[in-house]
Amino acid sequence: MIGFDPTDEQALIVETVRQFVVNEVRPESRPCDEAHALSKDVLTQAHELGLVANGLPETHGGGGERSALTSCLIAEELAWGDLSLAIGILSPSLLGVPVTDYGTEAQQASLLPTLCSDSFEPGSLAIVEPRFDFNPLAPTTTARKDGDGYVLDGAKCLVPWLDGSGPVLVVASDEGRPQAFVVPRGAKGLTATPERNLGLAGLPTVELALAGVRVPEDARLGGAAGADIAALVDRGRVAMAAAAVGMARASFELARDYAKEREAFGVPIATKQAIAFKLADMAIEIDAARLLAWEAAFLLDEGKPVTREARLASDKARRTVLQVADGAVQVLGGHGYIRDYLPEMHLRNAGGFQSFEAMSLL
């Protein structure tokens, strides 16, 4: 039956996350952006809420309550707070979800308990490559079978790289098929260079150079069976669609509130149709994008094919967040352009969604 209401349990989770976002995440939003670093306190506190661990398997210390839809709601709320912090907070999913879905028993046993432990441990997924024709399903980074292991060569970028000791999951072409490899951060031949990007300034990301990085045979995710990278890309698209909706909502609310306060020609500018209609369009498109993301997440939970829906939802959300963030800067005018206000940061963040491939997974 068609429905649009979160369950009581989902509503409670959303409310909890929202309170956390208002009290803890938002105050750190601009400071993180300026410092090019995430607040450790916020990451630790968020971890205590179990937002990622709740969805990981019970056998390895997780909550066993996997739901793409619930994760979608969480991602929206967190990104409504701050996109960099949201991706940071959810980063354990970058390792947790692929290992849960495709990892061998040994890989699960070695990697999942850390993500479910008492202290925050980030995840890291290297999928994007620094080229305009980057294709997540046809990486130019290669994994070549060599003796009893693999040798990885290539370059990655936009790799979340939070303080931690865990490995990075590298997507590389293995005999023409994309596969994922568990690579220790200190692996020989692996060089991580911190990045500065248009957006996501608060989130530490790196460019990874892989020059003859040797990993053992059991580093391949899923062992002989391997992993379905296309399915992970779908999950990433839905997650990032939800995050885009969340940030768009934040941007819209700033514009709306500013327009009601700011007076020009003796009246609040929100009473002018030129502004009011722009805000109405924002609200409509955000809701449309959200419903598309929900539908894709719903299908994921149902185990149905979702490639089309995930693609449409992420493309729609990407267009929407850029349009809304740009509109918000416009509504604030000069104030939207200065860093005293958040819309300029939202707009910089919004500009990158085309490249934010699988920066979170659900």
């Binding site: 649009f4 929900w294 539908e295 490639t307």
Partner: protein, 409 residues
Amino acid sequence: MPISFELSKNSVLAREHYNKIALEQMRPVSREADTREHDLPQQWVDFWWNEGRKGSPGDPTAEGDGFVTVCIQAEELCFGDAGLYLRMPTAALGGSAVGAAGTPEQREKFMEPFKSSPHPVWGAMAITEPGAGSDSAAIESTADFDDATQEWVLNGTKIFCTAGDGASQVDGGFVVVWATIDKSAGRGGIKSFVVPANTPGMELVGLEKKMGIRASDTATLRFDDCRVPRENLLGSAEVRGKGKKPSGDKGFKGAMATFDASRPIVAAMAVGVGRASLDFLKEELARQGVTIRYDAAPHELTAIERDVMEMEAELQGARLLTWRSAQMMGQGKPNNLEASMAKAKAGLAVTQITQRAVQILGPLGQSQKLLVEKWMRDAKINDIFEGTQQINQLIVARRILDYSSAMLR
């Protein structure tokens, strides 16, 4: 209802049922009905009266999607033909008005012919005037009460009255007419009146020649001392804003509230036309060996693939907004904001989708051998009637800003 995008059994049955009607009963006569603009599409009207109105199969006692199913019916039938949909012998918006603002006695009386008449009958709503469209509070048609005969006397001219030919000319039908009983009271003085077909003083002056939905009769009606009984007023005769606020008044506000129910349906109609166009486009592309690669990297997409994906996302976005507003409506939740969001989104999205399909298909989009050009013409009305794009933006804006109509004009 928890978040779910799986239709109930009844909705699935309804979709299949009305899709079959769309393809078997509507599409074959679609072009002809468009060409013979003011002729009654007899075959279709008879089909609907004899078969179509029986409804779709399914267990009426089973828990279902409620009003969403009504939207699915509208989408499927307009996937068939939007003009013929509007020409169906039903009470249409007239019925919605009687349902929303009428007493049980009024509902019983005026709706009876739609069950028992031996021949097809129509209902209609007459609001727009030559000098008042979106600003429906500015209407100038008048209703004066004649104490001697206990009748309302209507005077004025109504234009753009959908189904106004059938509703005014075929016995058993009726037109719900908006008129003011006190011009000095502004919108508070506006009431709606049920005028049965062929009431003396109601004259069908003409039918519009339109860009699209040509199978639909869009009438101009003139009221010249047209008398209806006292009990044909829907709602209370008391004027709001004068003296004490009457309780239970369903005058202007009641009339406007019918839009909260009709806008999801119009949005669904729009989605149906848009889908007709988009489905055809994808089928034609497939015939030419072009398939849409949803897993391709952005730089690999052709312009056509990019266009089609965007059209699909916008159409589905419009459909989901529509279902949300309908679902809330069915649950008795206020849906004024959501209904206007759906209508604004669907009207514009579908206008753009059908235009884009014509562009992409080039000469095929132009040709009257196909229906793509017709769908572009049919689609545009959805961005105009039942509240233009701009009126719905205005409603959405007021809601999100928490502004009254006085604060945001």
